[in-house]
């Protein structure tokens, strides 16, 4: 038998779960989905913005180099046999001082095949200067001011250097390959050992001799500083890596400097680092891009240790031959924590509501089922003649009878019925008992002996007849009216 005690609550609970639980779950999932879509969009925006910001560090040195080389090519009559003569110096300052002021991270450099070098540079305090050196003249080095205060061309200082530009890899590479080249990362001696990449563009004359090599450095320190200066959500990580797995710049790690005994940072080092986000990100990137080549902007997610992370990955200036890729990793908790917390809170609230409504449902079910069960028990007890009139069961029925609804009416009717049945039963019992005229002889004897054994009874017994006779005589005596009390021994 399937008792309504279980079936009712079960049905009610089922209804609650379907009604509240399903709605809650659907709402939770759709909110979560929305939140994540928002997060992905935000990461996409952050990534592409960063992409654009890196432009100044990469695009400007590259285009500046390219543009200047092109200008020289368009002036075939211009000679650079002595680029250090005052006229050339003045012209260079004139044409480049705007760029030199505005773009601190480009250092346009002109190198002649004779080993003369002219470079837009900065002093330690950041003042733009034109630096001239000549390896053949015993390492002569001169610096001239480039400023807007009318002091342009004034010599700042002079000294000596052992630096020979003709021995630099980028120069030799550009000349031998006859084309614009991008050097690998190296630690530049002229930039006090900072990690750089040099873009170099050679200019040849009609007979195929080198006229000039135009170049500029890309300062990884500057890029790194930029990445580290970004304000990103907590637990975020941004880095640039090349196709060989080398970390070019990173928001979380300082780059190595030349001369120090440290290997360049690699993706593998990241994968083994203490930072859990860095570790997981390196792994996720290697999984997604086994060749470490990101051909176009990408947005993907990965989950590590139960935490969701969004990754924006994009190539940087691939058309310039740069094999660098930007990766921006932002953890969901850092990004939309409040949003997610709100969604979770809402989910908990609906779970709480579900529990409450189940409790209410169960109470309601109990409220409805109990009188029926009581009624059933009462009827069963009456049927088996086991109803205890003083017992709890009947008390429950009486309590139910106080209800002011159909349950109350039912209980009242049942109570009346029970009383009627009991009354009839009692009547029958007493009818039977009435005719069962039985006496327990031994009990009677014991009880009589208790009385007849007393001295009072024995003396009363002796005197009973005499007393009665005496009374009769007294009454029969005519004219006796004095009221004198006769001696009475009965009570003594």
């Amino acid at each position: 038998m399937r008792s309504i005690r279980f079936v009712f609550p079960l049905i009610l609970t089922f209804q609650m779960v379907v009604a509240v639980g399903l709605t809650g779950t659907i709402a939770y999932l759709s909110h979560l989905k929305e939140a994540r879509e928002t997060a992905a969009e935000i990461v996409n925006v952050i990534g592409s913005t960063m992409d654009e910001q890196l432009y100044q560090y990469l695009y400007i040195p590259m285009t500046l180099t390219e543009a200047y080389a092109e200008r020289v090519r368009l002036q075939p009559q211009r000679r650079f046999s002595d680029i250090q003569d005052p006229e050339t110096r003045r012209r260079v300052i004139d044409s480049l001082w705007t760029q030199s002021r505005l773009v601190p991270w480009a250092n346009l450099t002109l190198t002649s095949p004779t080993g003369q070098m002219l470079r837009i540079d900065r002093t330690e305090t950041g003042t733009p200067v034109l630096k001239l050196s000549d390896a053949r003249k015993g390492g002569m080095l001169q610096r001239y001011l480039i400023d807007s205060a009318g002091r342009s061309g004034t010599r700042l200082d002079h000294g000596r250097t052992v630096f020979d530009p003709l021995q630099q890899d980028y120069y030799r590479d550009a000349v031998t390959r006859h084309q614009r080249i991008l050097s690998p990362i190296y630690f530049s001696a002229v930039s006090s050992g900072a990690p750089v990449v040099t873009i170099a563009d050679p200019v040849f004359d009609d007979s195929g001799h080198v006229r000039l090599v135009v170049s500029s450095d890309i300062h990884l320190d500057a890029i790194n500083g930029h990445l580290q200066g970004l304000t990103l959500p907590p637990d975020s990580l941004t880095f640039i890596f090349d196709t060989s797995g080398r970390i070019v710049a990173s928001s979380n790690f300082d780059l190595e400097r030349g001369g120090k005994d440290r290997k360049a940072g690699r993706l593998d080092d990241l994968a083994a680092s203490d930072n859990p986000v860095a570790r997981a990100s390196a792994k996720a990137l290697k999984e997604r891009f086994p060749e470490l080549t990101v051909s176009r902007a990408n947005l993907f997610q990965f989950v590590a240790k139960g935490r969701r992370n969004y990754v924006y990955a994009a190539p940087l200036f691939a058309d310039f031959g740069l094999n660098w890729q930007l990766a921006v990793v932002i953890s969901e908790s850092g990004l939309i924590e409040n949003l997610i917390r709100g969604v979770r809170t809402a989910a908990w609230v609906s779970l709480g509501l579900l529990l409450i409504s189940i409790l209410v449902g169960l109470r309601t079910a109990g409220w409805m089922v109990r009188p029926i069960l009581t009624l059933r028990d009462v009827v069963k007890a009456v049927e088996k003649d086991q109803l205890d009139l003083q017992g709890k069961l009947l008390q429950k029925l009486r309590d139910d009878a106080h209800r002011r609804n159909e349950f109350g009416e039912l209980a009242t009717a049942a109570l009346g019925m029970v009383q009627e049945v009991e009354a009839r039963h009692d009547l029958l019992e007493s009818q039977l008992e009435q005719l069962r005229v039985a006496v327990d002889a031994s009990q009677t004897r014991a009880e009589i002996e208790q009385v007849t054994g007393t001295p009072f009874f024995r003396s009363l017994q002796e005197q009973a007849r005499a007393l009665r006779e005496q009374n009769r005589q007294r009454r029969d005596e005519p004219g006796r009216t004095d009221g004198a009390r006769p001696t009475d021994e009965a009570g003594k």
Binding site: Q443, L460, A490, G491
Partner: protein, 254 residues
């Protein structure tokens, strides 16, 4: 010849007081002078049936037993109950027990000279020239009850038709026998199912070897009256009244 008629039952609540009062009224209505004494000192009750308010009379049986007054002074005429119902003949005198709880507790704790009761009965019969003296007793067995039984000419034991009364009545019947009561009768009260009455009478008479004067049915009207009036006079046509009338006749003839 004046009769001393004791009405007793082994257990309480059998209807002694009501039956005693009604029999008194029925006997008196034939022109007799009838006395009624309430010896149920612990729980007096018969006065209410005669319409006597507590404190209406100066003395009670208790005062007599303590020697404070004569038995006559403790007795009140209640014939008015007959006259009110248009019965011109007969007299009824009632000696009630005290209804003051202080008197009751004193009586219970100090006791009294039971022998005095007998002389009180006799004196009352003589002084008021009674034809019948009915004694309403305390249920169970105690000294004044035994004395009443011992000096009775008639003892009527009231019983209800249930197991406990059957057992208790056996004891009362045997004690009455040992005290040589000349006329011993049974009266069944509060019986149900009148169809069973003949069989019931036969069984009881054979069980106790004692005549059953009548069987009174359990009547709602009686219960409703609640010992506030004389049933026989208010409902003279009721089967209970008819039975009691025949009981009164039989007692008077005993």
């Amino acid at each position: 010849m004046a009769h001393v008629i004791s009405v007793h039952s082994f257990r309480g609540g059998t209807g002694k007081s009501n039956i005693t009062a009604n029999l008194a009224a029925l006997l008196a209505s034939t022109g007799k002078r009838v006395g009624v004494i309430d010896t149920d000192i612990q729980s007096p009750g018969i006065h209410a049936i005669f319409g006597l308010e507590p404190g209406q009379q100066k003395h009670s049986l208790n005062d007599f037993l303590w020697g404070r007054c004569t038995i006559e002074a403790a007795t009140t005429e209640v014939t008015a109950v007959l006259r009110n119902k248009g019965i011109a003949k007969g007299q009824i005198y009632l000696t009630p027990g005290s209804m003051q709880s202080s008197d009751i507790t004193r009586m219970l704790s100090e006791g009294y000279d039971v022998g005095l009761l007998n002389s009180g009965f006799q004196e009352l019969i003589e002084r008021l020239e009674l034809d019948h003296l009915l004694i309403d007793t305390h249920p169970g067995v105690n000294e004044e009850t035994l004395l009443s039984i011992a000096i009775s000419d008639v003892l009527m034991l009231i019983l209800r038709p249930d197991r406990q009364d059957y057992q208790g009545t056996a004891v009362a019947v045997e004690l009455a026998r040992q005290l040589d009561v000349p006329n011993l009768f049974l009266l069944v009260n509060k019986a149900i199912t009148p169809a069973d009455f003949p069989a019931l009478r036969e069984r009881i008479e054979s069980t106790y070897d004692t005549p059953v004067l009548g069987i009174l049915p359990l009547a709602q009207e009686m219960a409703v009256l609640g010992s506030s009036d004389l049933f026989c006079l208010t409902k003279p046509d009721h089967p209970i009244s008819a039975t009691l009338k025949s009981v009164a006749t039989k007692i008077a003839a005993a």
